[in-house]
């Protein structure tokens, strides 16, 4: 049973309330007892002080002349005014009892003369001050000065300790007119009765409070555990894959906030799951696109009698925007190109694929200007206006051993002159395809009469702009140097390509590849 949070709540609250109530009840009863006792003491003293004169006047008026009945009636009336005074008696200065209400009920006492025998009692009767006999036997005289200040003294008017809250008064003696005194017997019977009443009242109130508290505890615990139960059930459904699960908790407290947070969490999980599914689908499609693009690219090497060609492409994403190809245009002529569509990814890949297909389609027409024009026209019409493509386009003629080079906004190519054993940049004017109409009028053609071991290298800007972990770019100088070294050592086109790509990758280290890296190497075979 105690495994239930609800039960723990109820038990804890109930126990706490019971303990607090018992402590409070005991404290209140004790305080009430002292208060009532003090009330009785104070009330009895005041009553005695105020009534003694009237009583003695009645005594002189009725009893002294012998009229017992009216005096007895006046005494009864007087005693009814204070239930804490059990009886009273009238004494002379010498201690003779003239009247005692406890002994004289309906007729006057007629026995032997009653006289105080105790010297202390006689002192009290003969004092000028009211005196109290306490339950512990102490006698205290109460002296009130002319400013109303009360002091507690002994018979000789020396200050002594006054009655405390715990002290009970047995009787009070009030002197009257130098010849008499009135003694009042104080009863605390009413105190016990009033305490019992107070105890009963506290008990009833306590039980009522306990019941109410337990009910409130139960309601409170229910208000806590019910939402928790809802949350538990919803969490189980969520764990079972039902991401549409929501809880309905309308309270404005922490549990309401927890419920709202749970709902938010469930909604987030639902969205995340949907996104994951979508991402998986996109990834699969990208993988497929990459496979298609890969198939569009030529094999790494393309070897002719006099010319050795190689190329490589490392896409930044699944689908790259770079492309290269070696296309046989005729028996003696071969087209080669390296293109770079702005950006990378699927859109760039599609454009580069279009370009690849177009070049392949136009391979019969070896007029590079015409080819550039056709490419530009198609791309401008069929692609987005903000998508451009740079391209280094080559036409190799084995008969003439000349490579015609046309640049459409692409970075300058590197030319390794085998005789001079030096790498140089070849820059010719040009503009990226799809930017403007009539690109063929802007671009220039540059023919290179090749010699054995000459190397022509073109690349996408992903190589010089590749960055290492520190953010430093790979740069043209590194590229030239590695090309120089590879060409000097008579590497094959494929070896030169691999040397460059390896150097670039090594340079980048673990830093992220931000752009497609593409390289194409054309090397004149040695004789």
């Amino acid at each position: 049973m105690l495994h239930s949070l609800k039960a723990k709540f109820v038990l804890a609250f109930g126990t706490l309330i019971v303990v607090l109530f018992l402590a409070l009840g005991a404290f209140l009863l004790d305080a009430k007892g002292k208060e009532l006792s003090a009330d009785i003491a104070q009330g009895a003293q005041s009553f005695a002080r105020l009534s003694a004169g009237d009583l003695m006047e009645d005594y002189q008026l009725y009893l002294a002349p012998g009229n017992f009945v009216p005096f007895s009636r006046e005494v009864s009336v007087l005693l009814r005014q204070n239930s804490d005074i059990a009886s009273l008696s009238i004494l002379t200065y010498t201690g003779v009892v003239l009247y005692d209400s406890a002994e004289e009920g309906t007729e006057r006492y007629s026995g032997t003369v009653r006289t105080l025998t105790d010297a202390a009692d006689l002192e009290r009767v003969q004092s000028q001050a009211m005196s109290l006999l306490l339950s512990d036997g102490r006698i205290i005289f109460v002296k009130v000065d002319d400013e109303g200040i009360v002091s507690y003294v002994n018979f000789n008017e020396e200050n002594i300790t006054g009655p405390g809250a715990e002290d009970k008064i047995v009787n009070i003696i009030v002197p009257y007119n130098n010849a008499h005194a009135v003694q009042y017997e104080v009863s605390y019977a009413a105190l016990a009765e009033r305490l019992a009443t107070a105890r009963l009242q506290i008990l009833v109130i306590g039980i009522a409070a306990l019941v109410v508290t337990l009910m409130m505890s139960y309601m409170l615990s229910v208000s806590v555990t019910n939402p928790l139960k809802k949350l538990k059930q919803a969490a189980l459904k969520l764990a079972g894959g039902d991401f549409t699960t929501r809880v309905s908790i309308h309270s404005k407290d922490e549990l309401g906030l927890l419920g709202q947070t749970f709902n938010n969490m469930a909604a987030d999980i639902q969205l995340s799951t949907q996104a994951l599914v979508y991402q998986e689908r996109v990834a699969k499609e990208l993988e497929l696109a990459a496979q298609i693009q890969t198939q569009l690219l030529p094999k790494d090497k393309y070897v002719l009698n006099k010319m050795d060609m190689a190329g490589g492409l490392i896409p930044a994403t699944e689908v790259g925007g770079d492309a290269f190809d070696f296309i046989k245009a005729s028996e003696t002529r071969t087209l080669a190109y390296l293109g770079d569509v702005t950006g990378h990814g699927v859109a760039a890949g599609i454009v580069s694929s279009i370009a690849n297909a177009l070049i392949y389609a136009f391979r019969g027409d070896v007029d590079l200007f015409e080819m550039i024009k056709a490419l530009n026209d198609v791309l401008r019409k069929k692609t987005l206006v903000n998508v451009f493509m740079t391209m280094a386009l080559f036409l190799w003629d084995e008969e003439t051993e000349v490579i015609s080079y046309m640049n459409a906004g692409h970075p300058p190519i590197l030319y390794y002159d085998a005789e001079k054993k030096k790498v140089a940049e070849i820059r010719i004017p040009g503009m990226a395809l799809s930017m403007v109409d009539g690109v063929e009028k802007i671009v220039k053609k540059h023919d290179i009469k090749t010699k054995p071991n000459d190397v022509i290298l073109t690349y996408s800007d992903g190589i010089p702009e590749a960055k290492d972990a520190k953010g430093e770019q790979y740069g043209m100088n590194r590229l030239k140097r590695i090309v120089q070294d590879a060409a000097d050592d008579f590497y094959s086109a494929d070896a030169i390509k691999n040397a460059v790509l390896s150097d670039v990758k090594q340079f980048m280290g673990t830093s992220e590849q931000l752009d497609d890296i593409t390289i194409m190497v054309l090397k004149r075979k040695a004789v």
Binding site: Q60, Y93, Q128, D146, E157, N177
Partner: protein, 490 residues
């Protein structure tokens, strides 16, 4: 002697302040109480008021008054009557005289016998009802009276306790909070009695100085040398208030009357009625500047026998004239009045002129005035009474009762009314408070009905108090140095 002085001085105190003590704070450890009259005797059995004002700080009685004029314990801690004629007193234990001797029953018996029977005692008549004083044990004595005496306690407040066999009255030896240390330049130097049985006095040293001049006392007060001044003349009240002193008026227990001689012209009840109704009620306002209270009963405020809701007499000229017309032969009247009160006498004369009564105001010196009124020769005269026994019966016995033994000593108007006399005698012996109060009320009304003694007004005593002092006036008019404290609150 007490009675001799009582009727002469009261109004003088109020109107011209020829008497009055004041306190002078000289330093933190000493105050000086100055008096208008010099002490003439240190004897505990001297009963002159001027001496009692000095001695009250040195001697103590068995019973004393508290500030509200209720009897309180002093050197007796309890007492009571074992029968109507026998009183028993339990003496306070642990009380020392200033010489270190212990106060016991022998001392009390000796002191009482000294007061009631010594040839030098001025208290003899006061204690004439005391038959016997005897010791029961070391701390208990018994007093027997000839007749039941409801005023015995009041009388005992005037009997100072001295050591047994003490006779050197020039060297006071009491039990009070102060003892006499020295006398220098009209100032009696008192020193605080460190073995005093009660609460120690605040000031270690007290000077009781004799300063006779009214202006000197007032100036001393204004200059800050005096902190409390009793019997401030009403005309000086504003000056004191402006100087920053608290001014309080307190009942003086002094009532003033007009006494009509029943064997002279005022034997005619119509003449008495005419004067009774013709006199105004505003003398108090005119002469007392608000510090005299009109009254129409004989008792003073605060004493036994005072009737709280007694109506005040109203001037009624119609009744006065009607009564006057019944007078067969309108006499020429002489009003005897103490010197200093002439304006009051003239004012009364003016009122009586309105009913065609010619009154000659005859101002007399104290001695001459006393002789004149006691001789029974005055037509009508001014008479003041101070109730220093706190009971109206005192006045009835002395001034109303027919001259007979100790009764009627100041009955100068030939008032002889048997019923009044019987009531006065009955009141003098009635021990039951209620019964006695009733007798005194009836006496008041019966005496008013005779129209032989006309209550004029009751005086208040005015105190000027410095804010430096914490002190409350007493109804008995005494200034106890031991009750003066330094005010700690700014």
């Amino acid at each position: 002697m007490r009675r001799l002085l009582a009727f002469i001085l009261p109004l003088c105190l109020i109107l011209i302040s020829c008497d009055g003590p004041e306190a002078q704070l000289l330093s933190g450890d000493r105050i000086t109480i100055a008096y208008a009259e010099a002490v003439s005797s240190y004897s505990p059995i001297n009963f002159e008021a001027k001496n009692r004002k000095y001695l009250v700080n040195i001697y103590e009685p068995l019973v004393r008054y508290d500030k509200a004029f209720n009897t309180d314990t002093a050197l007796a801690v309890s007492w009571g009557r074992t029968d109507d004629l026998t009183w028993e007193f339990h003496l306070r234990e642990g009380v020392l005289f200033h010489d270190g001797s212990i106060f016991e029953a022998n001392d009390a018996v000796y002191s009482l016998e000294l007061a009631r029977s010594d040839v030098e005692s001025q208290l003899g008549s006061l204690l004439s009802n005391v038959q016997e004083v005897k010791k029961i044990d070391d701390y208990k004595i018994e007093i027997k009276t000839f007749e039941p005496d409801p005023l015995l306690l009041n009388k005992l407040t005037n009997v100072y306790m001295v050591p047994a066999a003490y006779r050197d009255f020039d060297a006071p030896l009491g039990t009070g909070p102060y003892y006499i240390e020295d006398f220098e330049e009209d100032t009696l130097i008192l020193k605080r009695f460190e073995n005093y049985w009660g609460a120690a006095a605040f000031y270690e040293e007290v000077g009781l100085a004799y300063i006779p001049g009214v202006d000197d006392r007032l100036n001393a007060l204004l200059e800050g040398e005096v902190q409390v001044l009793a019997n401030v003349p009403p005309q000086h009240v504003d000056v004191l208030r402006e100087a920053g002193f608290e001014v309080e008026a307190y009942p003086s227990l002094e009532v003033s009357y007009l006494m009509f001689n029943l064997e002279g012209a005022f034997k005619d009840p119509d003449l008495r009625a005419a004067v009774w109704h013709a006199l105004g009620i505003d003398y108090a306002e005119r002469f007392g500047e608000g510090y005299l209270l009109p009254t129409d009963q004989y008792a003073a405020l605060g004493i036994f026998g005072y009737i709280p809701e007694h109506p005040v007499r109203q001037q009624n000229l119609e009744k006065a004239i009607a009564a006057q017309t019944l007078v067969e032969e309108v006499p020429e009247l002489t009003l005897d009045i103490p010197l200093g009160l002439e304006p009051l006498g003239e004012d009364i004369a003016v009122d009586l002129e309105k009913i065609n009564l010619n009154v000659t105001v005859n101002a007399l010196g104290a001695s001459e005035f006393q002789n004149k009124i006691l001789s029974g020769q005055s037509d009508f005269y001014f008479f003041g009474w101070k109730y220093d026994l706190a009971d109206v019966a005192d006045f009835y016995e002395v001034a109303v009762h027919s001259k007979e033994g100790l009764y009627g000593a100041f009955n100068g108007i030939h008032l002889e009314d048997v019923e009044l006399d019987l009531s006065i005698e009955k009141a003098a012996q009635e021990l039951d408070i209620s019964a006695r109060r009733q007798i005194l009320i009836e006496l008041n009304d019966r005496l008013l009905a005779t129209q032989s003694i006309l209550p004029l007004f009751e005086a208040q005593v005015i105190y000027g108090i410095s804010p430096d002092l914490h002190w409350a006036a007493r109804l008995d008019g005494q200034i106890l140095a031991s009750e003066i404290l330094q005010n700690m609150v700014e």
